[in-house]
């Protein structure tokens, strides 16, 4: 699967921001963490993570810094900015509302409708 499915594409930004809320990470670690946490359900092609990261950086939500990685190589580490933290809150709330609404609809009993 070379393209993320549509739902994921829309929410990839939110997921990345959430990952970075815990600690600063490089691209590869983020992709690994995404796979682990979503139990491989969210299959994002590794590459499509980078345009998303660069967009978030260009928008000022996250900032980047070159540091030594645990494997002792230079890697680009991303971390959340103050503006990014606000944006995360905003998007998380939106997500919350959206998913509640959808779950509500999906849980409807046909006879109640």
């Amino acid at each position: 699967m070379s393209r993320p499915n549509d739902l994921v594409q829309g929410t990839l930004d939110l997921l990345v921001l959430k990952m970075l809320a815990f600690e600063s990470m490089n691209g590869w670690s983020i992709s690994q963490r995404l796979k682990d946490l979503s139990s491989d359900i969210l299959q994002v092609s590794d590459g499509s993570l980078y345009p998303a990261l660069h967009k978030l950086e260009q928008q000022g939500w996250i900032e980047a810094e070159w540091r030594q990685s645990p494997s002792n190589r230079r890697a680009k580490f991303y971390s959340l900015t103050t503006a990014g933290r606000r944006q995360l809150k905003l998007e998380a709330n939106n997500w919350e509302r959206l998913s509640r609404a959808i779950s509500g609809i999906v849980a409807l009993n046909p006879r109640e409708a």
């Binding site: 070379s2 393209r3 490089n26 691209g27 590869w28 992709s31 092609s45 590794d46 590459g47 499509s48 980078y50 345009p51 660069h54 967009k55 950086e57 260009q58 928008q59 000022g60 900032e63 070159w66 990685s69 494997s71 190589r73 230079r74 890697a75 680009k76 900015t81 103050t82 503006a83």
Partner: protein
């Protein structure tokens, strides 16, 4: 958005633009890190190194693809591409210098004309006035019906009514145009001055640059005479010396204190050198002027209160004026149809210039249409030659949007370069146009090529670039395949659609040029008719106006007697000079108006109540005036020295016809009174003679005129009229020396022949004709080049076809006719449309024409014929070339 975040974004954008290599390198490194980490992981999971790397790359999903998407995310791509497009366009344009140069020059001419004219329109009509809250300033205009009755000014009692009874007016100020003579050790000079009420500067919203302006304390007979210098006069006459404030100058032989210098501002209706308080003119504070409602000598400006509107002020003024008419019926005879206008001062300042400036703006726009059409045609032809290139580029993956943008970039370079060169042309043009605008508006000094004008020019350039881009067809996704297959060669080279566009552009060019030519033709006819008007004079005498006394000295009978004696001595000495036929003295020169009118009637034929009285201009003459001026004596006799008592008058033929109809006027009695002195009784005199009509310069109307004996009037600045055998310049010098001999301090003005004066009064009309004619000449030239170019292109595209025709038996004459017909039909259609357009629009010129109808058929036929001839010549060259095509070569091509 917080400032921090904004700063971050800007920093990143700048980094993406200017540290592109570094950003690219980091992107590379980042992605490589990911692939390597994944490969290592895969190896640890048990894959072979090759398989591990392959799997990592596969999971990544195309490294180059992701890089491209990442680059898009930087948000600077459009700019990078634009820079690329511009660089590419410049390279492409440099490869075709002929095309590039032609386009830039053509556009520069069109844009230059527009920029120059727009700077004038802006300076004279659009710019806000420099006065504080200038938008609240109003100019009031009172008019009667009949010639010379527009803007007849106001009397002091009328101003009083307006001042006290119109609630919308925050202030009403009076301004009279006046002239004073400035006496200095080195020279004597006439100044244009304004006599103003103390509140004038306050109402106008003008402050002193140095010193002070006048206030209420400067009104009334007891106030000392003071002057406020205009900024311009202060600079030109006093070299901007601030020391002049506080000193006394000598005006009309009286000391006047300079109290200040005014900030720069335009004056209506004319420029002034200084503004004086009313006490400077005994006349203005005299009883007649203060109390006579019909003694109208004052212009009125008013300032609106901040809360009112122009409409409300208008209706208030209208009702006050209506009650003024009702209460003073004798001061507003019904036959004269008095009326009042309220306009903004800005409108009044631009009033005379408006029509001619909009005409110029339209003409300049027409020139731009012609030059832009030409450029559009050139671009079209060029794009045909580049079709192959475009098709290949499209085939290699350039999207049609990208190609369109490339085209736009190219056009932007061309039009901005054209605009830049146009600005240089405009810089030269503005100087000429400022001199032109000075004849129409006091705001000419406000004309500059400033920022707003540059924005205008830039906007024109961008609009042109966009318009030009619309003309170019871009290989779209749909039509690509066949074109690529045919190698892109000539696929659309001569497509009917493109030909239609090209022909349409030629038709537009011809039509617009014909319209311009029609305007130029009418204005040229105007100046020809003006110069051909029979003035009624049988000579072209040299004239000069000589002032020896001031208004105050005129009350001293001894001084007046001495002055008259000097004039007689001067006259006698001049008449004795060799080559001089006659020398006369008059109130002023022939063809000049005195601005004074009598109401007159014949004895025994009183004016019926309610009917308009005969209105006659009042001029004065000495016994030699008619002979010296070349005005023929038709009946009776000229003045003799015995007529000085004023019991004899001489009238012109128009007056005799008007008042005495078919009877002989000589020996009849006429009763006269000054027009505005409605209460006066008639003064009676006998008609001594009838002279021929003369026409005031610039009109073909003849005023009924009464000549009074010169010495019966207190004239202070008579004209000396010298009829001699040519050598005007030499005679002018000699005559001035003679005057100086008798009166060293006399002011000598307007030393010129009557014809020189006439030429000066036609200067406006002459300039109109010259400007519009140059615009049309420009349009004709560009259009002719355009027609020839399009036909030549058509011939080139049809070379093979023509070759076939010729090999099948068409002779060269036939081919030539074919091409000529193609061109001539375009010129014909354009010409017809142009004439229709001209008929529809030349009515707007009416106010600028003289002696010719706006739809003058002769002009229209001549213009159409001229265009046809020029068009045919333009078609001839490509037609002849087509006829020379060698079929053998053409068919191999």
């Amino acid at each position: 958005m917080t400032i921090d975040r904004l700063a971050t974004i800007v920093r990143l954008r700048i980094r993406s633009l200017f540290q592109r290599d570094r950003v690219e390198h980091e992107l590379d490194e980042e992605l490589r890190y990911h692939i390597e980490q994944q490969t290592d992981l895969n190896i640890r999971l048990g894959m072979s190194p090759d398989a591990a790397r392959y799997e990592a790359l596969r999971a990544f999903g195309g490294v180059e693809y992701q890089k491209e998407v990442s680059r898009d995310r930087r948000g600077t791509r459009w700019l990078e591409e634009l820079v690329g497009d511009l660089k590419f366009s410049i390279r492409a344009l440099r490869r075709t210098p002929g095309f590039t140069l032609t386009v830039i020059v053509t556009l520069a001419l069109g844009v230059g004309a527009n920029t120059a004219i727009f700077s004038v329109v802006r300076g004279v009509l659009l710019k806000p006035l420099p006065h504080r809250h200038g938008e609240r300033l109003l100019y009031l205009r009172q008019s009667g019906s009949g010639p010379g009755q527009q803007d007849i000014n106001f009397s002091v009692p009328e101003v009083r009514d307006l001042r006290t009874r119109v609630p919308s007016f925050a202030g009403v100020a009076e301004f009279s145009s006046w002239s004073s003579i400035l006496y200095e050790k080195s020279a004597t000079q006439r100044l244009n001055v304004g006599l103003v009420t103390g509140n004038y500067f306050d109402v106008m919203g003008l402050a002193a640059e140095i010193g002070r302006t006048t206030g209420p304390q400067d009104d009334g007979v007891a106030a000392p005479p003071v002057a406020v210098l205009s900024h311009e006069f202060w600079i030109t006459h006093y070299g901007a010396n601030p020391g002049v404030v506080g000193t006394n100058i000598t005006l009309d032989k009286h000391p006047v204190t300079v109290i200040g210098v005014l900030e720069p501002a335009p004056f209506f209706p004319d420029r002034v050198d200084a503004l004086l308080n009313l006490v400077n003119s005994a006349h203005h504070l005299g009883a007649s002027m203060q109390n006579q409602r019909s003694h109208r000598m004052t212009r009125v400006v008013a300032r609106l209160t901040p809360t009112t509107t122009l409409e409300r002020a208008r209706s208030e003024v209208a009702s006050v004026y209506a009650s003024m008419l009702k209460q003073n019926p004798s001061d507003y005879p019904a036959a004269s149809h008095y009326s009042i206008d309220v306009m903004t001062l800005k409108e009044a300042l631009g009033h005379d210039a408006q029509l001619v400036l909009y005409l110029l703006m339209a003409s300049a726009a027409f020139v731009l249409i012609v030059s832009a059409s030409n450029v559009a045609n050139l671009t079209l032809m060029r794009s045909v030659k580049r079709e192959h290139e475009l098709v290949v580029r499209a085939a290699l993956g350039a999207g049609s949007a990208r190609l369109r943008r490339l085209k736009l970039a190219e056009n932007l370079i061309l039009t901005t370069a054209g605009a830049a060169v146009g600005m240089l042309i405009a810089r030269g043009g503005v100087k000429v146009l400022t001199a032109f605008a000075e004849r129409y508006s006091p705001r000419a000094s406000d004309i500059h090529l400033d920022g707003a004008v540059m924005v205008f020019t830039l906007a024109v350039a961008v609009a042109l670039a966009i318009a030009l881009s619309l003309f170019v067809s871009i290989p779209g996704d749909g039509g690509m395949a066949p074109r690529v297959m045919s190698g892109g060669q000539r696929a659309g080279g001569n497509s009917p659609a493109r030909q239609r566009v090209q022909r349409g552009l030629v038709v537009v060019q011809v039509a617009v040029t014909v319209m311009l030519l029609a305007g130029a033709g009418l204005l040229t006819q105007t100046i020809i008719r003006l110069t051909r008007v029979d003035t009624g004079l049988r000579a072209d005498p040299l004239t000069m106006r000589v002032t020896m006394l001031t208004g105050a000295e005129a009350r001293d009978t001894n001084a007046v007697r001495a002055m008259r004696q000097k004039f007689e001595q001067i006259r006698t000495e001049l008449a004795a000079l060799p080559g001089v036929t006659a020398v006369g003295i008059g109130g002023w020169a022939p063809l000049r108006s005195s601005g004074m009118y009598f109401l007159a009637e014949a004895q025994g034929k009183p004016t019926a109540p309610g009917a308009a009285s005969a209105r006659a201009e009042v001029l004065s003459a000495d016994p030699n005036f008619f002979m010296a001026s070349g005005i023929p004596l038709l009946r009776g006799r000229a003045f003799t020295p015995a007529d000085d008592d004023g019991n004899t008058v001489i009238v012109n033929k128009a007056f005799a016809d008007r008042v005495f109809a078919n009877e002989d006027a000589v020996g009849k009695r006429v009763g006269m009174k000054v027009e505005w002195r409605v209460d006066d009784t008639l003064q009676w005199a006998t008609v001594g003679g009838v002279v021929g009509n003369t026409r005031e310069a610039g009109s073909d109307g003849v005023h009924p005129t009464i000549f009074l004996p010169l010495r019966s009037l207190p004239i202070l600045n008579p004209g000396i009229i010298i009829r001699a055998d040519g050598r005007d310049a030499e005679m002018a010098k000699i005559a001035q020396a003679v005057v100086r001999k008798y009166s060293p301090t006399a002011l000598i003005e307007n030393v010129e022949t009557v014809q020189q004066f006439r030429a000066e009064t036609f200067a406006k009309q002459r300039l109109n004709a010259v400007l519009i004619s140059s615009f049309s000449a420009l349009a004709v030239l560009i259009a002719a080049v355009g027609i020839a170019g399009v036909l030549a292109f058509s011939v080139a595209a049809r070379t093979t076809e023509i070759g076939i025709r010729m090999s099948l038996g068409a002779d060269s004459g036939r081919v030539q006719r074919m091409i000529l017909t193609e061109g001539a039909s375009l010129v014909f259609v354009g010409g017809v449309l142009g004439v229709i357009g001209a008929i529809a629009s030349t009515g707007a010129l009416r106010g600028l024409l003289f002696g010719v109808s706006p739809r003058d058929p002769v002009t229209f036929v001549a213009v159409a014929a001229a265009m046809a001839i020029i068009g045919t010549i333009a078609c001839w060259i490509p037609a002849v070339r087509a006829a020379r095509i060698d079929p053998a070569i053409a068919m191999r091509a």
